[in-house]
């Protein structure tokens, strides 16, 4: 068996893993990274990037269909638009491929050794990797578990054939005529909305009383309305039971058994750590249920073993994994670091988009803060009007005593890019006066943030 010795071993080359490895390389640490699939993990290959690409194609197609249907508000007409979905998938795959090579290049530049294969722990500092050319033993002084997560499979709706996960949905040969989506979370609705725009008849089955339960009702109402406009049928409080020959069996809100005809059934009920086969049972890791328990330095209960990203639990976001990865690399290099982030922004790429950073009003009150809230509707924003995107608002939550901004949320078309401003404000410890006192370029949707802050201070200018 071939043997490699190194200072740092990173298991998994998803966003958390490859960022950690690159940073470690930059700090001169002898690093090895192991990946069984393609570099970039779920996010880059079957998650964030490919889904956003197809969502973009869906938006483009929707503009054409609206025009073709003579419903354009500004006189656009189009003739029988069609979508060659296979070509869209090829375009998407090309982007993914370029990013795979990009990550590979970054790792090489940082002098990180890449090993392709399935890793399994032998003890806290030794891993055996099954590669095509046989098994390799890797001994390390420190190990980072960055194995990421995989879609949750429902026992009565096993993946395969017409029952698909988000992975298969992004590489379908064609747009399914009828699509049933089990799970009204952000993944289910993002894809559901896109396929609806591609012309599929979409039905969403959500067990909880409403869609996108993580966000408060005020934020999700515009999304629900848009789904309705797109002809997406949402069955809340309904439970999927099973599927036979193209029919999804459910029990709806008032307990009746129903059957939904569907060419494809997309199951998006959550994600779970992808640690099967990693041999965690060989170690003595303290767990939090399915997730690996970590401290404020992403250290696990075993000295010299760290865990980052989705394996450590919610929120399962690529940018959280990347921040953890960077921090762990610096800790392994001996720098004094610990997790002290004040906020992790989250984006839901439905139509309209939702951005949330920090505490919502309810969360702030639950945390015992006296708060003041300022809300500014895009219908009063010039730029929104000029983009025919007036639905939605920006909402700022601040402490009542000294106006420290606790949270910023917004819903609106194309406002995901505001996440940067929201995050920066909270992380810098901005107060309402800081935001209000910052000149926001005109005309932009961003002005909504300034106006919301002014509103909270009691002297908004444009409403």
């Amino acid at each position: 068996m071939e043997e490699i010795a190194c200072r740092l071993l990173v298991i998994g080359a998803g966003p958390g893993g490859y960022v950690c490895a690159i940073r470690a390389g930059q700090l001169g640490i002898d690093t090895v990274i192991v990946e069984r699939g393609r570099l970039g993990g779920s996010c880059l290959n079957v998650g964030c990037i490919p889904s956003k690409a197809l969502i973009h194609v869906a938006d483009e197609f929707e503009v054409l269909s609206t025009a073709a249907a003579g419903k354009s508000a500004f006189g656009l007409t189009a003739h029988a638009p069609k979508v060659d979905f296979a070509k869209a998938v090829v375009w998407k795959d090309e982007i993914v491929h370029r990013l795979n090579n990009g990550v590979a290049g970054l790792l090489r530049k940082a002098r990180v050794k890449i090993v392709h294969g399935e890793a399994r722990f032998r003890d806290g500092k030794t891993v055996v990797v099954e590669t095509e050319t046989g098994s390799t033993l890797i001994r390390a002084e420190a190990v980072v578990i960055a194995a990421g997560s995989a879609p949750v499979e429902l026992p009565f709706l096993p993946f395969g054939g017409d029952i698909i996960s988000s992975t298969e949905a992004l590489s379908l040969a064609e747009v399914p005529k009828r699509l049933a989506v089990v799970g009204g979370g952000y993944i289910g609705l993002e894809l559901g909305t896109a396929f609806a725009k591609f012309g599929a008849k979409v039905t969403v089955v959500e067990a909880l009383p409403r869609i996108l339960p993580l966000y408060d009702e005020e934020l999700t109402a515009p999304v629900a309305r848009r789904l309705h406009e797109l002809g997406v049928e949402v069955l809340a409080g309904a439970k999927a039971e099973g599927a036979e020959s193209g029919k999804l069996r459910i029990t709806n809100g008032n307990g009746q058994a129903k059957k939904i005809a569907a060419d494809k059934i997309l199951v998006t009920v959550g994600r779970t750590p992808a640690v099967a086969g990693l041999g965690l049972e060989e170690l003595v890791l303290d767990m939090d249920g399915r997730f690996i328990r970590i401290g404020e330095r992403c250290e696990t209960s075993m000295r010299g073993v760290y865990a980052i990203g989705d394996v450590t639990g919610e929120p399962m976001l690529a940018h959280r994994a990347m921040a953890q990865g960077e921090m762990v690399a610096e800790i392994v290099a001996g720098l004094p670091r610990a997790w002290d982030k004040r906020c992790i922004p989250a984006i839901c790429f439905t139509d309209p988009e939702i951005v949330s950073a920090g505490l919502s009003p309810d969360e702030a009150r639950a945390a015992g803060h006296e708060i003041k809230v300022g809300q500014f509707p895009f219908s009063a924003n010039g730029r929104a009007m000029s983009r025919h995107a007036e639905r939605g608002f920006v909402r700022v939550v601040a402490r009542a005593d000294h106006n420290l901004v606790l949270g910023v949320q917004a819903v609106g078309q194309g406002i995901s890019e505001l996440a940067a401003a929201f995050g920066l404000a909270i992380e810098m410890g901005a107060t309402l006066e800081d935001i209000a006192g910052t000149i926001h370029a005109h005309p932009t949707m961003g002005e909504g943030l300034q106006e919301a802050a002014l509103k909270a201070l009691g002297h908004a200018l444009h409403i």
């Binding site: 420190a142 000295r303 810098m428």
Partner: protein
């Protein structure tokens, strides 16, 4: 081609060195695996060393009769095999622990050059001066407000941001706040002038201070205190005291008011034993003590301590004085034994010249009464015809109203007043 260094193996348990007694090869010889290289002698045995590899002898380490240490090189052999001896696996896990290097963070500075002048770092190994207040455990949920850059520099400087008060809006710690904090160190004096003082120094309530806190809380929680403040004309007492203090001797040292008060209490308690008692409120029993053990509340460098004069009833004036002085001394320098600091049945507390006009003393649980002595002052008193200057001293005494009615308390205070105002009565055995 590779070169294999044959080391002198550990031939016997814990043997440190061995004497070279015979060479079986010389430089240039070709040896096959297991051919004998040399013989060495330890104080236990003569041992032949076979070659673990095949190849040409390049170098032999030492002459016959040399003493070689175990583990040192014995022979270098040019091996025919291609690869050089495999890189030694990383040292056994024991030494493989990830050891964050000790030297100050500057040494492993992140690749990106730091634009700002580096903040002077405190080397990790220097222990904070021992008496520096213990750093506050992070208040639950309350993260310090500071920008990521300031937070990073605080970490690099080994500063706990919660100790730095932010001058920015909402208590945000600015770069200047951090640099000022680092520059002047946590507890150096602020520059002169009336700068706003916002440092919060936290002192852990431990040891003696904690015990005092607990006792006070217990007493206040369980005992409904009734406090009676009474004026006592001590002019006569003072005159008597002055007379007695003319020629102090070892057995008869200078007297303070305290011994007189103790004698007065003994007399008064004889008539009201209920006040010289301990109330076990859990068991619902009042234990009246015949012996009068008077606790003397004494201020010491580490806090309030109550040494006890045992059996005051059996001690004369001077004996009381001597005992009080001895106990006070031991209490102050911390040598009082546990036995000397316990067992009181009633307590006297006095703040001497700081005694104020009146106080509300807290009963020394589980006792039921405490006599507080206030400041002596000359006050104009009406003697029936005119105001005359009299030396007055108030007594503020608290009683446990659960077992002592106001009436009994008042009777006791009046008796003390009476005895102190005519001190002669103290020496009349009624």
């Amino acid at each position: 081609m590779g070169e294999h260094v044959v080391k002198l193996p550990d031939v016997g348990e814990g043997v440190a060195e061995a004497e070279l007694v015979e060479w079986h090869v010389k430089v240039g010889d070709i040896v096959r695996e297991d051919d004998l290289l040399a013989s060495v002698m330890t104080d236990k045995a003569t041992v032949e060393i076979p070659s673990p590899v095949e190849g040409e002898v390049l170098w032999t380490g030492g002459e016959i009769g040399d003493t070689l240490a175990i583990g040192s090189a014995l022979v270098r052999v040019k091996t025919a095999g291609g690869e050089a001896p495999k890189a030694a696996p990383p040292p056994a896990p024991e030494t493989a622990e990830v050891l964050p290097p000790v030297e100050a963070p500057k040494a492993a500075a992140p690749a990106a050059p730091k634009p700002r002048a580096p903040i002077p770092e405190q080397p990790l190994a220097r222990p904070a001066p021992k008496r520096e207040p213990v750093a506050m455990r992070r208040a639950p949920g309350e993260k310090p407000i500071a920008s990521p850059a300031v937070r990073l520099e605080a970490r690099e400087a080994g500063v706990d941001l919660r100790q730095v008060t932010g001058s920015g809006p909402g208590g945000r710690v600015t770069r200047e706040d951090l640099e000022a904090f680092v520059a002047r160190g946590p507890d150096a004096a602020r520059s002169p002038g009336l700068a706003r003082r916002t440092d919060i120094t936290e002192i852990k309530i431990v040891g003696l201070r904690r015990r005092i806190a607990e006792k006070m809380a217990l007493s206040k929680a369980r005992i409904p205190h009734i406090t009676i403040v009474e004026e006592v004309d001590v002019t006569a007492l003072e005159d008597l005291r002055a007379a007695l203090n003319k020629k102090p001797t070892a057995e008869r040292p200078k007297l303070t008011v305290l011994p007189f008060l103790m004698r007065a209490m003994v007399r008064a308690l004889a008539e009201q034993p209920g006040l010289n008692a301990l109330f076990d409120d859990d068991a619902g029993i009042v234990r009246q003590h015949a012996g009068v053990h008077i606790g003397i509340a004494t201020q010491t460098p580490t806090g309030l301590v109550v040494p006890v004069v045992k059996h005051a009833e059996a001690r004369g004036l001077w004996e009381c004085a001597v005992e009080v002085a001895r106990l006070a001394e031991r209490a102050r320098d911390g040598t009082a034994s546990r036995e000397e600091l316990s067992g009181s049945t009633i307590t006297i507390t006095s703040l001497g010249p700081l005694g104020a006009i009146a106080t509300t003393p807290v009963i020394n649980y589980p006792e039921v009464a405490i006599v507080g002595v206030n400041r002596m002052a000359i006050r104009p008193m009406w003697d029936g015809r005119a105001f005359v200057p009299r030396k007055m001293m108030n007594l503020s005494s608290s009683f446990d109203h659960r077992v002592i009615d106001g009436w009994d308390a008042a009777v006791f205070v009046q008796r003390l007043k009476e005895l102190l105002e005519t001190p002669a009565m103290l020496f009349v055995d009624a």
